[in-house]
C-alpha cells in the first residue's frame, strides 16, 4: 500500500517549507514534492506606494540578503529615473553587495551546512549544529563567525546598518565613504583571505580524506552522486569579458556540457526568455527557460550555476580555485552538493574583488547619486543575490506611484531543480516504512545545498521543530518522527 512521508517544516533553511514523499507498495519513493506553504504578497502590497520606497520595501522580504533586493530594486528605480548612477555610487553599491555575499555564504556554509560535513549526515540532530562544530573544530566555527561578521561590518560601515540599510536608493547611494572606513575594510581583507583559503583546503580534504583525488572513495560519494546531480541549464550574470559579476552584466544560459545556450541577454528583456509555471500545491512558482518550454527548460541559479556559466572569475586566487573546480567534471559541474564548494570560491572572489573596488580612487568620491524624477513608466533591475539571480520589475504612473510589480527570486529559479533533487536523493536514501533520521536529513540537506530563501521566494518566516509523518492513504499514521 502506498504511503506518504511529510517533512514539515524543513530546518536549517531560511523560511518555511514542507517536503512530501510518497512511497509505493515496495517502500521506495514514488514521488516527491517540495512545497512552500506560506504567502506574503509583496508584489501586491507595493501597489500605490512611491517607487522610491521600493528598494527598502522589497528588502523586507528577507533578513539574510536584503542588500541584493535593495540593489535589484534600486536598479529598477534607476531605470525609472532614466539615469546613470555615478561611478562612486556604483562602486559603493557593489562593495555592499560583496559584503553581503561574504556574510550570507558564510552563514550558509559554516552555520547551516558544515554541521553535516563535520559531524556527518547521520550524527544526532542535537550535535549536528554550529555548537557541535564549535566543540569538534573550534577553529572552523570561529572562522565562520569571523567571516560573517566581516561581511556584516562592511554593510554596516558603508550602508549604515547591518540588516535592511536604507542607504541604497534610486539613483545611487545616499552617503559617500570616508577614507578611514575604506582603509578599515581593506586592512581586514588579508586575514579573511587566509580564513577562506584555510577552509577551502579543509573542505577539499574532507571530500578526499584518504588523500585520493578520486571522489569515488570520498566519504560523501553517495551524497555527491545523489544531491540533485542531474542535467539542467544554468543561468547567471556575466560581464562583457565573461567574468563573474554580482552587480551588473548580461544573462547567460549554459547547458549541462557548459555549452552556451544563450548569451548577452538583456535583463530588460527577461520576459522573452523566462516564464513562470504555476502548480496548485505550492505558492512558489516554477520559472523556466521559455524557448525550451516547461518542464524541459529547467535551470539552476546561484553559486554553482554562476561558476558554470562564467568563463573566469576575474580575480587571481578565485580563478586558480575555479580551474580546480572545473576539473570536477568535463562539462558543467552537475551535483548540487558542489554548491558548497562554489560558495567558498565566491567568498574568495568577493574578497579579492572588494580589494580591487576599494582601491579605486573614485571609491571615496562625493558624487554618489543621480538626481531625477520619474522619466520612464517601467524599470527592470537584475542583480546576483547570494542564492542566485534576482529580477525586480516595476511599473509606475506618470507621478511615480507604483502600479504593478513582478519579482522573480533566486529560490524561485531553483524551484524545479530542488524538486528534482529531492526526488533523486529520496529515491537513493529513503527506503522502507521505518524512517531514519539520517535519511531525512539528507532529503533536507539537498534543499540546504541550494541555500534557498523561502522568505524571499514566497515570503514565509519562522522556524519550527521538524515533524515527519509516514501516513497511509487512509490517513493512518504509521510512523512519526519529531525533532525538537
Amino acid at each position: 500500500m502506498s504511503k506518504t512521508i511529510t517533512i514539515e517544516p524543513i530546518t536549517r533553511i531560511e523560511g518555511h517549507g514542507k517536503i512530501t514523499l510518497m512511497l509505493n507498495d515496495s517502500g521506495t519513493v514514488d514521488n516527491a514534492l517540495f512545497q512552500v506553504t506560506q504567502f506574503r504578497g509583496f508584489e501586491k502590497l507595493s501597489e500605490g506606494r512611491r517607487f522610491r520606497e521600493m528598494p527598502s520595501l522589497m528588502a523586507r522580504v528577507c533578513g539574510i540578503c536584503p542588500v541584493a533586493h535593495l540593489i535589484a530594486g534600486a536598479k529598477a528605480c534607476d531605470n525609472i529615473l532614466a539615469v546613470k548612477v555615478p561611478e562612486t555610487g556604483s562602486l559603493i553599491r557593489q562593495a555592499i553587495n560583496l559584503g553581503q555575499i561574504v556574510q550570507s555564504h558564510a552563514l550558509s556554509f559554516f552555520y547551516l551546512s558544515v554541521p553535516d560535513l563535520v559531524m556527518g549526515f547521520d550524527a544526532k540532530p542535537m550535535e549536528r549544529n554550529i555548537l557541535g562544530v564549535l566543540k569538534k573544530n573550534p577553529q572552523m566555527a570561529s572562522d565562520g563567525i569571523r567571516l560573517r561578521k566581516f561581511g556584516q561590518t562592511i554593510i554596516e560601515l558603508l550602508a549604515g546598518k547591518r540588516v535592511h540599510p536604507a542607504a541604497i536608493i534610486a539613483g545611487g547611494v545616499s552617503d559617500p565613504c570616508s577614507v578611514e572606513v575604506r582603509d578599515k575594510i581593506l586592512s581586514d581583507i588579508p586575514e579573511m583571505m587566509r580564513i577562506v583559503q584555510r577552509n577551502l583546503d579543509w573542505y577539499k580534504q574532507a571530500l578526499n580524506q584518504n588523500g585520493s583525488s578520486s571522489l569515488r572513495v570520498s566519504p560523501f560519494v553517495e551524497e555527491i552522486r545523489s544531491f540533485a546531480n542531474m542535467k539542467s541549464l544554468f543561468m547567471g550574470l556575466v560581464n562583457d569579458d565573461g567574468e563573474l559579476d554580482f552587480y551588473d552584466g548580461k544573462i547567460r544560459f549554459v547547458d549541462s556540457s557548459r555549452k552556451i545556450v544563450a548569451d548577452r541577454l538583456d535583463p530588460a528583456d527577461y520576459q522573452n526568455y523566462i516564464a513562470e509555471h504555476v502548480e496548485k500545491w505550492t505558492y512558489l512558482k516554477f520559472p523556466y527557460y521559455k524557448p525550451m518550454g516547461y518542464p524541459k527548460g529547467m535551470y539552476r541559479v546561484g553559486p554553482l550555476a554562476r561558476l558554470n556559466v562564467i568563463d573566469r572569475c576575474g580575480t587571481p586566487q578565485a580563478d586558480l580555485e575555479l580551474s580546480e573546480f572545473r576539473g570536477l567534471s568535463s562539462g558543467a559541474v552537475l551535483s548540487s552538493f558542489y554548491y558548497h564548494h562554489a560558495r567558498l570560491i565566491e567568498i574568495l572572489y568577493s574578497l579579492e574583488k572588494l580589494e580591487q573596488l576599494l582601491s579605486e580612487p573614485a571609491f571615496t568620491g562625493n558624487k554618489t547619486r543621480a538626481i531625477a524624477g520619474p522619466n520612464n513608466l517601467e524599470g527592470i533591475g537584475m542583480a546576483e543575490a547570494p542564492r542566485g539571480t534576482l529580477i525586480h520589475h516595476y511599473k509606475v504612473n506618470e507621478y511615480g506611484v507604483m502600479q504593478w510589480a513582478n519579482l522573480i527570486i533566486a529560490s524561485g529559479h531553483n524551484n524545479m531543480a530542488m524538486n528534482h533533487g529531492i526526488m533523486q536523493v529520496a529515491r537513493h536514501f529513503v527506503k522502507g516504512e521505518k524512517i531514519k533520521e539520517g535519511m531525512l536529513n539528507r532529503v533536507e540537506a539537498v534543499i540546504r545545498a541550494f541555500d534557498p530563501c523561502l522568505s524571499c521566494s514566497t515570503h514565509a518566516a519562522g522556524k519550527m521543530p521538524l515533524q515527519i509523518e509516514l501516513a497511509r492513504p487512509d490517513g493512518e499514521i504509521v510512523h512519526r518522527l519529531t525533532r525538537s
Binding site: R52, E53, P55, L57, V401
Partner: protein, 239 residues
C-alpha cells in the same frame, strides 16, 4: 508688560508658577521647563486641541483637559504626568498607529518623525488595538511635494500654516472621525491646485511622513523645524 495684565498663580506638578491670565496651561508649563508632549500644537499657529497628547489632570475636574486649549485659573492644581495620563497618552498613540498605515521602516520620515519619537518617548512597545489597514491613496501629482494619507494623523498643522501664515488656504479637511482627510482646493489633486504657492510650509510643519518633498527616499525627509518660529519672529518684528 502692561500693568493691566492680571497674574494668576497655579501649581503644575507640585511647582508654584505664575502666569498671565490669558495664557494656556501648556504655555505656562513650557515657560517653566515642564515638558508636556504635543503633536498638533505648534508655536506660531493657533491651537487646535485635536491630538489630545497634551492632556492634563486638574484637581476637581473629572475630565482630562487639553493643556493647549485650557487657560489658567487662580489656584489651579495641574498634574501633567500622572500614571492615568501616561496610560491615556499611550492608548491614544496606539490608536494613531492602528488607524492608518504608519510603516516607519519604509517611510521617508523614518528617524525624523514626531509620531515615531513620541511613541519612543512614552515607551509604546505594542499596539493593542487591531490595525485597520485602510486603503489610502498617495497624492504625488504635485510638482514638488507628496501627500501620503497613509501617514497622516489629521493634526491639521498643514491646514493652519497654509491659512494663517501663507494665507493661501489651499489645504483643508473634509469628512469627520476616521474618515477625515486633508484635501487641496476643493478636493482636487494637489498638482491641479490653482491656489498652492508651492511654499512648502505645510511639508515642514507636518510631524510625520504625510507631507514630504518629492525625490526623498526612505529616511531622508528631515523637516526644517526652525522655519515656522523664524517666520513668526520676523513677522512680529515687522509689525
Amino acid at each position: 508688560m502692561s500693568s493691566s495684565v492680571k497674574i494668576k498663580t497655579l501649581t503644575i506638578d507640585e511647582r508654584q508658577v505664575g502666569a498671565r491670565e490669558n495664557q494656556t496651561i501648556l504655555e505656562v508649563a513650557r515657560e517653566n521647563g515642564i515638558k508636556i508632549p504635543t503633536l498638533c500644537y505648534l508655536k506660531g499657529l493657533s491651537p487646535y486641541g485635536g491630538c489630545r497628547m497634551c492632556i492634563v489632570e486638574i484637581a476637581g475636574s473629572p475630565k482630562l483637559l487639553p493643556s493647549c486649549m485650557t487657560t489658567v485659573e487662580e489656584g489651579m492644581v495641574v498634574s501633567t504626568n500622572s500614571d492615568r495620563i501616561k496610560k491615556y497618552r499611550k492608548n491614544l498613540l496606539e490608536l494613531y498607529f492602528s488607524e492608518r498605515n504608519h510603516v516607519c521602516s519604509v517611510c521617508a520620515s523614518n528617524g525624523y518623525c514626531e509620531l515615531q519619537s513620541m511613541a519612543q518617548k512614552v515607551e509604546m512597545s505594542h499596539v493593542h488595538f487591531p490595525y485597520m489597514y485602510p486603503h489610502l491613496d498617495v497624492d504625488a501629482t504635485h510638482e514638488r511635494y507628496v501627500l501620503d494619507h497613509n501617514r497622516c494623523i489629521a493634526c491639521t498643522r498643514c491646514v493652519r500654516v497654509c491659512d494663517e501664515i501663507e494665507g493661501a488656504h489651499t489645504l483643508d479637511i473634509k469628512d469627520r472621525g476616521i474618515e477625515v482627510r486633508i484635501i487641496t482646493d476643493l478636493d482636487r489633486p494637489w498638482g491641479e491646485s490653482e491656489t498652492c504657492t508651492q511654499c512648502g510650509k505645510c511639508v515642514h510643519v507636518c510631524p510625520t511622513g504625510a507631507l514630504i518633498e518629492r525625490g526623498k527616499s526612505v529616511g531622508e525627509m528631515s523637516k526644517r523645524k526652525q522655519l515656522l518660529p523664524y517666520l513668526t519672529k520676523m513677522r512680529e518684528a515687522h509689525e
